[in-house]
């Protein structure tokens, strides 16, 4: 009897092991995104008996540098939270064949704009590869308290870059803080004002990077702002190559009047600044041609080397659901990529007035972004553009190259990188 029981138990365990599916999810977080997803996955596991999701929280650098190498050699997690859709597109799993037509249509309806970001290269034009759980928008933040202390009127939403520069310098000079304006050291942030100055970004063949009058105009202005110290030199001149650098610490320490970054900083500012001073999101900042920002965002993708593609597709469907997205976004204070939630709004939990206002301002700016901005975000080789811009423009800022030389080199660098990738 005892022997029979033991054999049965072993057989059951073996059967269970055969059915059990473990999905590894490589996740990075700006705030609490991975924690929120870990909690949400309990419902998914309850729905799918035998499937467990293991969330491996990693630094963003691991997503940028380690993940592509793992995928290249056919290894790596089943899913990951990524931002480089173009670069990772060829490794992504198309969930559509594993979904019901009803689910696929709902996902298409809710996420059509961001789904396009992964439909590049050889990927299917109607494939479902990514569910963006954190739509981001570039935009400015201003230290309201410094403006009040300086007695300078803060430019209204829709003000120009020139107006913000003038006002920020006046505030800096009146209050004695170190920096008037700063812009994150990446081509992603540079691209938005460049497009507002009229940059087309793409040439006639549809490839980046076109150095036209609009691009040149903002590049000239940007270098001039560094020469007269309107822009914080420490951010762009403080590093070399395409290294990313932000100025969030300077803004948090009230040492910077106006900071051009993006909506992903909102949660961090709400947490780190607290009630130390008042801050606001600036809304769209305009150039002569437009007032656009750059969209972007992190999303959850599955990979095509996975053993259980059905389970991965089921998880993709789960994270796309309106109620699940609403729950996670409420905890993480992020903007929704889901069209229904964009329309209806998200009931954010425990956010301060500053954070709520900033989320509202950024959310309102997104629909006004230029189509070129979306095209650049979904461009297969956008990383070549984003890393080459800081490398070359910094050389012009510190005087290693003239601006003309820097722009010529920039155009060549992007062309070389794209040629290498092909």
């Amino acid at each position: 009897m005892r022997q029979t029981l033991a054999v049965s138990a072993i057989a059951l365990m073996a059967a269970g092991a055969a059915q059990a599916q473990e999905l590894r999810f490589m996740c990075y977080q700006d705030g609490t995104e991975c924690d929120a997803w870990s909690a949400a996955f309990a419902d998914f596991e309850a729905e799918h008996d035998g499937v467990t999701v293991v969330v491996d929280v990693v630094p963003y650098q691991a997503i940028l540098e380690s993940l592509p190498v793992q995928l290249e050699v056919g290894e790596g997690p089943d899913l990951a939270r990524v931002t480089d859709y173009g670069g990772l597109a060829r490794f992504m799993l198309d969930a559509r064949p594993h979904l019901s037509a009803e689910d696929a249509d709902r996902i298409e309806e809710r996420y059509s704009a961001s789904l396009a970001w992964a439909r590049v290269g050889d990927n299917a034009p109607d494939g479902i590869y990514n569910i963006v759980d954190q739509l981001t928008a570039t935009g400015g933040f201003a230290n309201k308290t410094l403006f009040e202390q300086a007695g300078v009127d803060m430019p209204e939403p829709g003000a120009t870059w020139a107006e913000w520069a003038e006002a920020s310098v006046a505030v800096r000079d009146a209050t004695g803080v170190d920096f008037a304006m700063a812009l994150d050291r990446t081509g992603h942030r540079f691209a938005a004002p460049a497009m507002s100055f009229g940059a087309a970004i793409f040439n006639e063949e549809g490839h980046a990077l076109a150095i036209d009058d609009g691009f040149r105009a903002f590049a000239e202005q940007f270098v001039a702002w560094h020469e007269d110290e309107t822009m914080a030199r420490d951010v762009w001149a403080g590093a070399g190559g395409g290294t990313y650098q932000d100025a969030a610490a300077e803004f948090t320490n009230a040492n910077l009047v106006m900071y051009y970054s993006g909506s992903w900083q909102i949660g961090r500012f709400g947490r780190d600044i607290g009630d130390a001073f008042d801050w606001v999101a600036t809304g769209g900042i305009c150039g002569p041609e437009a007032c656009t920002g750059m969209p972007g965002g992190a999303g959850i993708v599955g990979f095509n080397h996975t053993d259980p593609p059905e389970a991965v597709a089921a998880l993709i469907e789960f994270v796309s659901r309106d109620d699940v997205q609403a729950q996670v976004l409420a905890q993480t204070s992020n903007l929704p990529a889901n069209a229904m939630l964009q329309a209806e709004g998200v009931a954010y939990q425990d956010v301060s007035d500053d954070v709520a206002a900033a989320l509202s301002t950024f959310g309102a700016a997104v629909p006004n972004f230029a189509s070129t901005a979306y095209a650049l975000q979904g461009y297969e080789f956008n990383r070549a553009v984003f890393t080459s811009i800081p490398a070359r423009l910094t050389q012009a800022i510190v005087g290693e190259l003239t601006l003309d030389e820097a722009l010529d080199r920039l155009e060549q660098d992007v062309a070389d990188a794209i040629a290498e990738a092909r």
Partner: protein, 327 residues
Amino acid sequence: MAALLRALYEGAFNIFETPMRWLQYSLGAHRMAWVFLLPNLLIFGLFTYLPILLNVWYAGSSGDRILLGERDWVGTANFASLMDCESYLQPNSCRRDLFWRAVHNTGWFVVLQVGFMILFSLIAALILNRNIPLKGFFRAVFFYPVLLSPVVVALIWKWILQRNGVLNAGLDWAGMGTTNWLLDPSWAFFWIVFVSIWANMGFYVLILLAGLQAIPGDVYEAAEMDGTPAWRQLFRITLPLLTPTLLVVMVLSLIRAVQAFDEIYVLTGGGPGSATTLLIQYIYDVGFATRPRQFGLAAAASLVMAVVLMVLTLMQLAATRKRAEDG
């Protein structure tokens, strides 16, 4: 008990006796050396020579794929691209201007860092070799930075040199003007040389100190009896007898200087612009930090650097051999 241990010990070795006898019988005694060398050769082959061959393959191919079968063979195109210059002295005239800026920066860095480091290490070693108070303490002080991680060294100096850092706070307190040390290309280059010397010289001081202590004391006694002044003793006794040690120090520091990366990357990120970008960082940037990754170009640049290091090593071997023949 001892007998038991001895029996076990001998038994353990006897396990190999039969297969080794069979191998010797099969291969012949003169080939047995290869059997003993085989484990080492395998490890070297796998972890040293195979990566070198892979690197050569990458250098001769293009594309952003990692798997060799997915890469296009382009022969010497990557080397040609790196060497495409109107004048090697003018990086702006080169197709890969950043590579040549890195080469120039590395050249200057090596000359200045190695030159000053040997000079300061020698001075420190000469002082520490005398009977000064707290000699042991000062030896520890010089050696302490060597124990620190390069990243820690860089972070410490970053806090000292940044806009609101300790150095500027001190200068401000003293009523002197402040400078953005790491944002000015010339100052940034000065500081990477300085920090590198500070972090590494303790190691070379120790080697030179050992060299100084190996010089027989009776040579100095004889010189003093002859009334030889101290400066003459330095140039006629100390330095000539210290030359073999100085040669070792020079070669070691040269190779380490060419390979400099971590401290500088954390301290300046290669900036401002490309003012402190050295060869290793160029290779890292091209191969890993930028998108799409240009593995071929990075591998070609690393082979160029390997050739430079090989030349330096051969020069050291030649100098050592010449000295041995002369001596």
